[in-house]
Subunit: 349 residues, 2 copies
């Protein structure tokens, strides 16, 4: 049988490539923890839409979703498509809320096409920013930074704010919002290039390369009055070192603990937690999903800051769905520089 | 030279016996960390009062004050009288605010007589309760329980509250206030006698003997819906085990960590602290001294509960200033049963 180009094209497009979770990782995720699978592109049932995915967000939280343990969200089941945030376009709708051509962010997963009942979706005005930004400063990382800093830490003008993982998708936005609020901002990152970026491009007051500097003494130098707010993305030694230098009434927002996610010997608890007592301080966790009703408000304010040149965004885009396992691990080795995004297909002009 | 009885009496009364800190303890305090000293009874200068001390409060916090490290209060200097809360009577006043005969609680220290400029003193109506109660439920432990539970944890009717060190001076009041507020209350303690006391005498819903029971499974049994509030006096394993069972929106009040105070290998950090993230929960420290302006309000309400038979108080009184080092260590071995108090002299009828 002979197929012409058009027929071949149709056949290719009838396949949905997917990355499924095939084993629970121990430590750093490996290729063998995932399966690259194909299935037919599904048809939406009544009330559903079919979304073609262009960009996939790769986030540290995905590591936690792979574990079979009680958490704020169900673990991904073995054999299921890897859960992930996505930017895509509605290609077929049987839902009153959505039309073909709508751009939507949602939790489409690591695949080319996703069905949705619309509950996870939010329409976006794609003209407002680069596509990838909708998964970065205008997406979940931006929302996480916004609510985790403003709601949990309530920064006041003149306070000293420390952000770990500051060159990451969340940290970079946290630090810039803290600057907008009139705080002194110090970030930690893992390379001279990232540290330079924090100070020169993002306007941080100082940056500390935790791989090369003595964190305790560098914090002392840059935070001579102590630390009022700590936005923690990394946990481990950094959290402990900051705890030793908090000020009275300090607020610590526990956003994540990327240093501990692949720790097969269990999490290191913060030995200096009694500093909370001495300093009448608070350590609080939050989950961005709880703020879903207020995403619109946050996105509007962040978009305004971007437009006004007050908030700089940077994405690290890697092309090709097939690269997923290796690309994901860039988060844990620190190889990414900017919000890490997997590009699945070239969006229409 | 021959002295008659009266002269001898006068000479004895002109001496102020004192326990001074002579070395920084490593681990559990030893006799050799203290010096039993004598000095003349001082005369108050203008603005000062001289207080004769009858009862001395022995509290876990005293252990922290002996360390030479930055904290919420200056470390006790070597050679200084051990800091401690006291109940006494003004015997000589050159202060407008106090008259001879006034009963006062204050930070008089481990000695028979103390000078004060009045800043640490609070007058009490000695007719309202047993003397020792003014250092217990109506004193610092009561204030600590009141503000640490009500202000930091904001208990709501029907919530599940866990208190560690529940038979201790603070824990017993915390649990009873939580019951008054309509909570389900579970306490941990270190002996069957203490556990029985919590349930039978204080009205706790359940008590767990942490020395004999599997804490994880006992908590699961008694807190089937999880834990909304944890008032922590002990730290260590108990804090970690509770963290694994908190509910969404839980509040943890860090009051102390008696299990860790004599740990020469450093404090064990809570490995399960990421449960704060998953459960959008909060862990907060506080220092009772910050609430000094509101002590009156709290004492009045607690006295009302005592009078109404809603709050039971128990003190463990040991006689004799000279027993101080051994008596203090009863706190750390768990030998005391009720608020531990050192009786220095028989109060006037």
């Amino acid at each position: 049988m002979i197929f012409g180009r058009e027929v071949t094209q149709d056949m290719t497009e009838s396949v949905n490539h997917q990355w499924k979770l095939s084993a629970r990782p121990e430590g750093m995720p490996k290729h063998s923890d995932f399966e690259y699978a194909e299935s037919p592109i599904p048809e939406p049932a009544d009330g559903q839409v079919l979304v073609k995915i262009y960009y996939i967000s790769l986030d540290p939280a995905m590591r936690g979703w792979m574990n079979d343990q009680r958490s704020y969200i169900e673990p991904i089941k073995l054999g299921d498509v890897m859960r992930a945030g996505t930017l895509g376009q509605v290609v077929s709708s049987k839902s009153d809320g959505y039309s073909e051509g709508d751009w939507v962010v949602g939790i489409g997963g690591v695949q080319e096409y996703a069905l949705s009942d619309g509950k996870d979706l939010r329409k976006v005005d794609i003209s407002l920013a680069r596509h990838a930004t909708f998964l970065g400063a205008l997406g979940m990382p931006g929302m996480t930074a916004y609510f985790g800093l403003l709601d949990i830490c309530n920064p006041q003008e003149g306070e000293t704010v420390v952000v770990s993982g500051a060159a990451g998708a969340v940290g970079a936005v946290v630090g810039q919002i803290a600057k907008i609020k009139g705080c002194r901002v110090i970030g930690t990152a893992g390379s001279p290039k990232k540290c330079n970026y924090l100070v020169e491009q993002l306007g941080f007051d100082a940056a500390i390369n935790y791989k090369e500097e003595d964190l305790y003494h560098s914090l002392r130098k840059h935070c001579p009055k102590g630390i009022d707010i700590y936005f923690d993305n990394v946990g481990g030694e950094t959290l402990d070192t900051v705890l030793a230098q908090i000020r009275r009434g300090a607020r610590i927002s526990i956003c994540g603990a990327i240093s501990q996610y692949n720790n097969t010997e269990g999490v290191n608890g913060p030995k200096n937690y009694l500093s909370l007592l001495i300093n009448r301080a608070r350590m609080e966790g939050f989950i961005v999903f709880d703020y879903a009703p207020r995403y619109g408000e946050a996105a509007k304010e962040i978009a305004g800051w971007i437009t006004a040149g007050k908030l700089f965004t940077r994405e690290h885009v890697v092309e090709g769905l097939e690269t997923f396992p290796d690309t994901l691990n860039m988060l844990f080795t620190g190889e990414n520089f900017g919000k890490l995004i997997l590009k699945v297909a070239e969006p229409p002009k």
